[in-house]
């Protein structure tokens, strides 16, 4: 027999080290330089704090039965906001899964809309004209083809926007992830695949989601680069995304960014993670808090302090409250909303069903 044939493509024995710029104590690592100004870091911090405060408030409202099941973002703030900060809301699209509230806010999407959505109000699905976001997606990975289509459409229309598809480690096992990456590679479409690897898909841990050492390792199989970053490091996420955006705008095609982060709270308000989460691991990730490290970083340059923290917390609470107030002004929807927006013009069947249902005539 011949000598064994060596597979030209071998699985890695272990994961690569994710890129990091900002250490857990808020210090730049090694020779790293900050990829954003302090003003930008403050803008990002505000969004991260707002996102966390909002989901914290919603969690307690959910417990009181005032809003429906939702998926909180705790722990993933840097991954969400760092990536969104690299976009130009005028030209670029955010295509979320369901945890990305602050990315939508940065695009200009109103917080009261998200409240209405979580309250189960049909108007919660509305996207104001000119705001470049798609609605939250419940069918996992189904949004990824949409992001490719947006990027493709902008490419065809010679616009220089990019789109960012957010999705989880679990969603990356879906066929739609694969088909999307492959088509985007062929098109060299200006799309960024932003994989938030928060280590869990409900109760399913990352290790049994895939045998790949890194999910970013899939990119070469589609002909574009994959990068692994510390998802709790605002700077690393921002810089990786900014570079991907630059490549995409230059017509160089997609990038897959794997953000290593951790889902610090329950999967959703309906989940009981105590049944499966390893407390030690959770604690370990707790020491890598994405917000804390930006605050420490900014404190070092005199841009953050306890007083400022208190002031911001109060402002954020007000902002959230006024969004709830605005949402409360929207009248509740009645049964006629069932028949609206099925088609631009209702069919005669829908009109008949509506008349019978509402006893109109």
């Amino acid at each position: 027999m011949s000598d064994a044939l060596s597979p030209q493509f071998k699985p890695a024995a272990k994961s690569v080290a994710p890129h990091k710029l900002l250490g857990p104590k808020g210090k730049l690592l090694g020779t790293a330089k900050a990829p954003m100004t302090d003003a930008q870091a403050l803008e990002a911090l505000r969004l991260m704090m707002l996102g966390r405060a909002f989901d914290t408030k919603c969690f307690s409202l959910q417990r009181q039965g005032k809003i429906g099941t939702f998926a909180p973002l705790h722990g993933q703030e840097a991954s969400i906001v760092g990536s969104a900060m690299a976009l130009n809301p005028e030209s670029d699209w955010v295509v979320p899964q369901y945890r990305e509230t602050p990315a939508l806010l940065r695009q200009g999407y109103p917080l009261e809309q998200i409240i209405l959505y979580r309250q189960g109000h049909p108007h919660g699905g509305f996207v104001p004209d000119g705001i470049k976001v798609l609605q939250f997606q419940i069918s996992l990975a189904a949004q990824i083809p949409h992001a490719v289509g947006l990027a493709w459409g902008m490419q065809l229309q010679q616009q220089d926007g990019v789109s960012v598809a957010y999705f989880g480690d679990g969603s990356s096992s879906e066929g739609d992830f694969h088909e999307s990456c492959n088509l985007a590679g062929v098109l060299k479409a200006p799309v960024i695949f932003l994989l938030q690897n928060n280590q869990w898909a409900i109760s399913t841990p990352r290790e049994i989601q895939s045998a790949a050492s890194d999910l970013a390792a899939r990119a070469p199989g589609y002909g574009f680069p994959g990068i692994s970053v510390d998802g709790n490091d605002l700077f690393a996420v921002y810089q990786a995304t900014a570079e991907a955006v630059t490549r995409a705008r230059a017509g160089k095609g997609p990038t897959l960014i794997e953000c290593h982060t951790y889902r610090m709270w329950a999967h959703t308000t309906a989940d009981d993670p105590s049944r499966y989460v390893d407390e030690k691991e959770e604690k370990r990730w707790g020491t890598r808090d994405p917000i804390d490290r930006v605050q420490r970083y900014l404190a070092d340059s005199g841009n953050w302090s306890d007083d400022k923290a208190k002031a911001w917390e109060a402002e954020i609470a007000d902002e959230i409250q006024s969004a709830f107030d605005n949402a409360a002004k929207v009248p509740p929807a009645g049964p006629e909303a069932l028949y609206e927006h099925v088609f631009e013009t209702p069919t005669s069947t829908l009109n008949r069903q509506r008349a019978a249902h509402l006893q109109e005539q």
Binding site: G120, I138, E174, G334, P335, T347
Partner: protein, 325 residues
């Protein structure tokens, strides 16, 4: 005899079937360690091991598609689609592969597979969790579609499903998981597919329903009886196979009929029931057969789902109208 909720009856039946036949294996997203997002498989992995109660990656098509290979290898896969809505990601594997393997191979390869999936509304879930998609699967020729409404039926029908030589889509009404509870014999029993359950004898009008709409109809019946109307009520239990003879007999008895289901009207299974009845019981019909269903619109957000789902008031109204006609 023990009083069980529907989800308990399902869990105990899965346990019993796994004890009874070691070829039975469970698989799906979060069915193992967590015991399922509704705890339908709680404790089973501890009892039977991770090999027989397997947490899959998040990928519905290969969950369904690998079941074909598992079945042909000699096992009896029971897989969960976490919600029926997401089974559409596996639609081609379910309707074109699982359902047609026997036909394609003239009986040489078969798929004794059970697909469990919760569905149904009024529990304030996010989008796509609530949709009643039974008619789309009833058209998946080669697939049986089973829709229990009580804990008793859930046990007997699930045991039949797992032992059935053909693939069965076993649909579990979410709203009934903990709300529905009734007496369930501790001993083994099965319920034959294609035999409807007479919920109530009556002679004024026949009401035909199944699954999640059964409690709605029960509520309507209370009201009707209070008004002096005496309805005959049947629960189909399985829509494929369908108890044609039972249906015809139930409607011939009264000459009038209202069909109630939670899915939209257009080409729903109510249309099939009505079509069969007018084909086979035409001359005994005294009034048009009526449907009470969701409108031909997508399942809406929780804020208005109460309007989407047929209510007992609408059932009562339809019965009254049919009695006047």
């Amino acid at each position: 005899m023990t009083t069980l909720t529907m989800v308990e009856a399902i869990r105990e039946t899965l346990r019993a079937e796994m004890l009874r036949d070691e070829r039975v294996i469970l698989m799906g997203e979060d069915v193992g360690h967590l015991g399922g997002v509704f705890r339908a498989t709680d404790g089973l992995r501890q009892q039977f091991g991770a090999q027989r109660v397997f947490d899959t990656p998040l990928a519905e098509s290969v969950i369904a598609g690998s079941a074909v290979g598992l079945a042909i290898s000699g096992l009896i896969p029971v897989f969960e689609m976490q919600f029926l809505g997401f089974s559409q990601n596996a639609f081609h594997q379910i309707c074109q592969q699982i359902a047609r393997t026997r036909f394609r191979t003239r009986g040489s390869h078969t798929c004794p597979i059970t697909i469990r999936a919760p569905f149904g509304g009024n529990v304030r879930t996010p989008e796509l969790h609530s949709d009643s998609m039974e008619p789309q699967y009833a058209q998946g020729t080669g697939l049986k579609v089973v829709m229990p409404s009580t804990a008793y039926d859930a046990k007997g029908l699930l045991a039949s499903a797992i032992r059935d030589p053909d693939p069965v889509l076993f649909l579990e009404p979410l709203r009934g998981y903990r709300l529905v509870s009734d007496d369930v014999p501790d001993d083994d029993y099965t319920i034959e597919f294609g035999k409807l359950r007479v919920m109530r004898e009556g002679d004024d009008i026949t009401i035909v329903t199944w699954s999640a709409s059964v409690p709605v109809v029960e509520q309507a019946v209370e009201q009707l009886v209070a008004e002096g109307i005496n309805p005959h009520v049947v629960d189909l239990r399985t829509i494929v196979p369908l108890d044609e003879a039972g249906l015809v007999a139930a409607v011939e008895k009264t000459g009038r009929c209202v069909v109630v289901h939670e899915s939209p009207a257009a080409a729903g299974f109510g249309a099939e029931v009505i079509t069969l009845l007018q084909e086979q019981a035409f001359y005994s019909l005294q009034a048009p057969l009526k449907r009470v269903t969701a409108p031909d619109a997508p399942y809406p957000p929780p804020g208005i789902e109460g309007h989407y789902i047929p209510s007992s008031e609408l059932v009562v109204r339809a019965v009254r109208e049919t009695l006047i006609d």
